[in-house]
């Protein structure tokens, strides 16, 4: 079903896929401000206190002028450090606002377009595709590809390379068996993680404990117990089962086959931790849990797919490169091009998605049936006959190339 109505752009709902475009910089602005505020609070309190102490000390003669100079030097050093940090946060803030402006301007362009036939819409939609591809590449850790595509297309302000590169660094370190980077990230985002009830930090602490236990050496195991007291016991109300299992782990060696201890010792824990981290990271920043490209594709593949796209006759991918196949490639050709779902790129991917629902037939006008069972619109048959230079009164099958006299064709009525 295709009519004029369907090519109109519905501004209310056309930007579903583009929400993270503005949500992410907003979350990053907030995060950036929190860090700036924290730095300021911490350093200013300490400077203020030192200043007060020094003043009092100097007034009642307890602090010598030399020490006053020393203290002032300390304060100056702290303030310079604060300035450096705040300047970096300010830089980040203006970078984020710049991004926001660029993104709003990009979304704003769409407001001036009213149908998808608008010439500007294609350029806009291509840019959206580039954005979605970059998002997909980044989420898979294909950072170089993402960076170079963004550079080629000049869409740096419309994609979130820094955020995802930082994420993939932490993810990779987890996959390689290191919790340090992930723990640092946890402490940066402690409050927010607690608010969303994330188990990430607990899981990381458990893993540290497991790794110490794995060594089997006496001192390490003592250290493990101390570690558990410090970092794990506090979670006993939230995760009673797991905390109990950590205790139980003391009794089992890494080569045990007994569950749940075998799973705790398993090296599969690492990729799982990486997944837990990615999930927490995306949730914290309000990012969808899977690539936006997936959402666009599963919706788009279905909307475009017809039962014909994977039928045994017309699938391009499944027939021999014979001459006759060259014809079948051209199934709907002559004037149109190959269907994107039938095209090699997407055919396999679309195999398992449902096809579009139609309640009305959508066929050419004046259909005629050829003696071989194939049906074409009269206009197309005439055009093809003319192009093929056939004598008047004859027509040629667009797919098989068979030639028939026009008077052997029958009218087909589609109700």
């Amino acid at each position: 079903m295709a009519d004029h109505e369907s090519s109109k752009i519905n501004h209310d709902n056309h930007l579903l896929l583009d929400q993270p475009l503005l949500r992410l910089p907003y979350e990053l602005l907030r995060k950036n401000f929190r860090s700036a505020h924290f730095t300021f609070e911490k350093e200013s309190t300490s400077v203020k206190n030192l200043l007060k102490e020094t003043a009092t000390g100097s007034l009642n003669g307890k602090t010598a002028p030399e020490d006053v100079v020393k203290n002032l030097d300390t304060m100056l050093a702290k303030m310079r450090g604060m300035k450096r940090k705040l300047a970096a946060y300010a830089e980040e803030e203006s970078h984020l606002y710049r991004q926001v402006d660029a993104r709003v301007a990009h979304l704003r362009e769409l407001c001036d377009m009213h149908t998808v036939e608008d010439v500007k819409y294609e350029a806009w939609s291509r840019q959206r595709l580039d954005r979605l591809v970059v998002d997909y590449l980044l989420r898979h850790g294909y950072n170089d590809s993402a960076t170079s595509l963004a550079k080629e297309r000049q869409i740096d302000d419309l994609v979130d390379i820094d955020t995802f590169v930082a994420m993939s660094k932490i993810r990779r370190s987890l996959e390689n068996g290191s919790v340090t980077e992930a723990l640092a990230w946890c402490s940066e985002n402690k409050k927010e993680l607690r608010r969303m009830h994330s188990n990430l930090e607990f899981m990381l602490r458990c893993q540290q404990y497991i790794e110490m236990m794995r060594t089997g050496s006496q001192p390490k195991m003592v250290e493990a117990i101390a570690h558990a007291k410090k970092y794990i016991i506090q979670f006993r109300d939230t995760y009673p089962l797991e905390v109990g299992q950590m205790g139980g782990l003391l009794a089992y060696r890494p080569d045990t086959e007994l569950e749940p201890y075998a799973s705790w010792y398993s090296t599969d824990r690492w990729p799982k931790l990486a997944d837990i981290f990615v999930e927490a990271h995306n949730k914290l920043l309000g990012l969808p849990s899977f690539p936006l490209l997936h959402i666009a594709l599963s919706s788009g593949l279905s909307a475009l797919k017809t039962p014909a796209c994977h039928s045994s006759q017309s699938t391009i991918g499944s027939s021999q490169p014979t001459r006759s196949n060259q014809h079948s490639v051209a199934t709907s050709s002559l004037t149109t091009s190959v269907c994107p779902i039938c095209s090699t790129e997407l055919n396999e991917l679309a195999r398992n998605v449902p096809y579009a629902h139609h309640s009305k037939s959508h066929v050419e006008h004046d259909l005629l049936l050829l003696p071989n069972g194939r049906v074409y619109g009269k206009a197309r048959l005439e055009e093809y006959a003319a192009k093929a230079g056939l004598p008047p009164g004859q027509c040629k099958d667009l797919v098989t190339g068979q030639v028939y006299p026009f008077d052997q064709l029958k009218k087909v009525f589609i109700t």
Binding site: R23, F33, A90, L137, L304, P307, L369, I414
Partner: protein, 444 residues
């Protein structure tokens, strides 16, 4: 103007307002002021080095630093309030709407998506990005578990392989660029080098066409003339015709050397050499082109004016060249990834509406093969004929194909079988009757 139309506009306006508010950089300036105060005090104390000056300086320092710290604090407050306003504006003018989150049908096929992206980059002529991507993706193949339930980790690829095995019987080598899909790492089976060579050829020919040079395109069309003819394409003749017209216009227009190969004489020579092979099919047009010679002095006012307008002819011919070139590779002319993502954005609101209704009613998908709701797409995105049986209201498929009954009406096969009383049935749309054996399957 719709609400959201207003929305982004309004958001842009509010952002412009917000940019006037203080940002963190203001705080940095005030921190500088504190540093100045501190270092001035330090200099005074260090120079005098006596307790009285020290305590006096410090006492005098207390108030200004306090004020300066408060200023920094105010700056931070303002920066934070600007952000809050931005957040509020965002919620108001670009309210958060839900996206599909429960089910990711694409998560099981990262290798296929990678392949689609690689081919997309190649066909777009992004050769260096494509090669970076192919290297990266081969170094770190995507893992299935990344974005979905960890438990289903080991199952998906198995069914996929089975599903593909049937096709593989005859799929082995359609053209060398079509990757065999049973391979787990689909990128390695993608003959990217060959695809790149092909698309490099396409772009070099398009470059020539842009520079008004038709030779490489004509040469390509000639070496593929059999396939083009089978497709019902006149590309070779269209290109040759344009070459004739281009020469006809002479050096003043085409800026080619003014010699016997150019101008009307050059065009005539060209026609004699090359038009012979098109005579059978395009005699009338060739006659037209030749008779235009007579009107050469004032072609603009002759009946041949239209044939000789080259302004859009080069762009048109470039577009049909791209289409034919891709078709001969078994690929669509537009990037399928582009079409699919655009269609996806257009159809997504319907999907979300359906999901919401489904959740409200607590019902599930009724059919696995077909979407449960309509997703209308613009005309330009409809590629196949669609036949919906007017009785069953279902699309016909391979197992339930469209059948034409003797009166010319078309029904789904299952419908005819249901209508049948014995071997006869009556057409639901006209008074005529038919026999089951007279109904014949048609290919739309």
């Amino acid at each position: 103007m719709t609400a959201n139309d207003m929305g982004i506009n309004a958001l842009q306006k509010e952002l412009a307002e917000l940019s006037k508010m203080a940002r963190l950089s203001a705080a940095v300036d005030n921190v500088d002021r504190i540093i100045e105060q501190l270092s001035a005090a330090r200099e005074q104390v260090a120079q005098a080095l006596d307790p009285h000056t020290a305590s006096l300086t410090l006492t005098k320092l207390q108030n200004p630093t306090k004020v300066a710290f408060e200023k920094v604090n105010d700056n931070l407050k303002e920066a934070s309030s600007a952000q809050k306003k931005f957040g509020k504006a965002l919620n108001e003018h670009f309210p958060l709407k839900s996206l599909p989150a429960d089910h990711d049908a694409m998560a099981d096929h990262p290798a296929l998506i990678n392949r689609a992206i690689a081919m997309h980059l190649l066909r777009e002529g992004q050769f260096s990005v494509a090669s970076t991507f192919i290297d990266e993706a081969q170094d770190t193949p995507p893992h299935h578990a990344l974005y979905h339930q960890l438990e289903s980790e080991d199952t998906p690829s198995v069914e996929l392989d089975e599903a593909m095995d049937e096709d593989d019987m005859d799929a082995d080598a359609r053209t060398s660029i079509t990757a065999s899909t049973t391979d787990n790492n689909d990128l390695s089976s993608l003959q990217s080098q060959e695809l790149q060579t092909k698309f490099a050829e396409m772009y070099s020919i398009l470059q020539d066409l842009k520079a008004r040079n038709l030779f490489s395109a004509i040469e390509w069309a000639r070496s593929n003339s059999a396939e083009l003819e089978a497709r019902g394409s006149n590309l070779e003749f269209e290109l040759s015709k344009l070459q004739y017209v281009w020469l006809f216009k002479g050096p003043a227009v085409n800026r080619l050397p003014d010699d016997e190969h150019n101008g009307r004489f050059g065009a005539l020579t060209y026609a004699r050499q090359h038009f012979g092979r098109f005579q059978a099919r395009h005699l009338r047009e060739i006659e037209k082109l030749a008779s235009a010679m007579v009107f050469a002095p004032n072609l603009g006012e002759s009946p041949y004016n239209l044939v000789f307008a080259t302004d859009s002819a080069f762009t048109d011919v470039a577009a049909s060249f791209t289409r034919e070139f891709c078709s001969l590779l078994g690929l669509s002319a537009e990037s399928p990834l582009y079409i699919a993502v655009t269609a996806g954005a257009l159809a997504l609101p319907k999907l979300m509406k359906y999901n919401m209704a489904k959740r409200a009613k607590g019902t599930e998908w009724t059919t696995a093969n077909e979407l449960a709701f309509e997703t209308p797409l613009p005309e330009s995105m409809v590629y196949h004929s669609i036949f919906v049986c007017p009785v069953a209201k279902e699309q016909t498929t391979e197992s339930n194909p469209p059948m034409m009954i003797p009166c010319g009406h078309v029904l789904g096969r299952e419908t005819i079988q249901k209508l049948c009383k014995g071997t006869r049935f009556k057409c639901p749309y006209c008074p005529s009757e038919g026999q089951l054996k007279d109904a014949r399957q048609i290919i739309l």
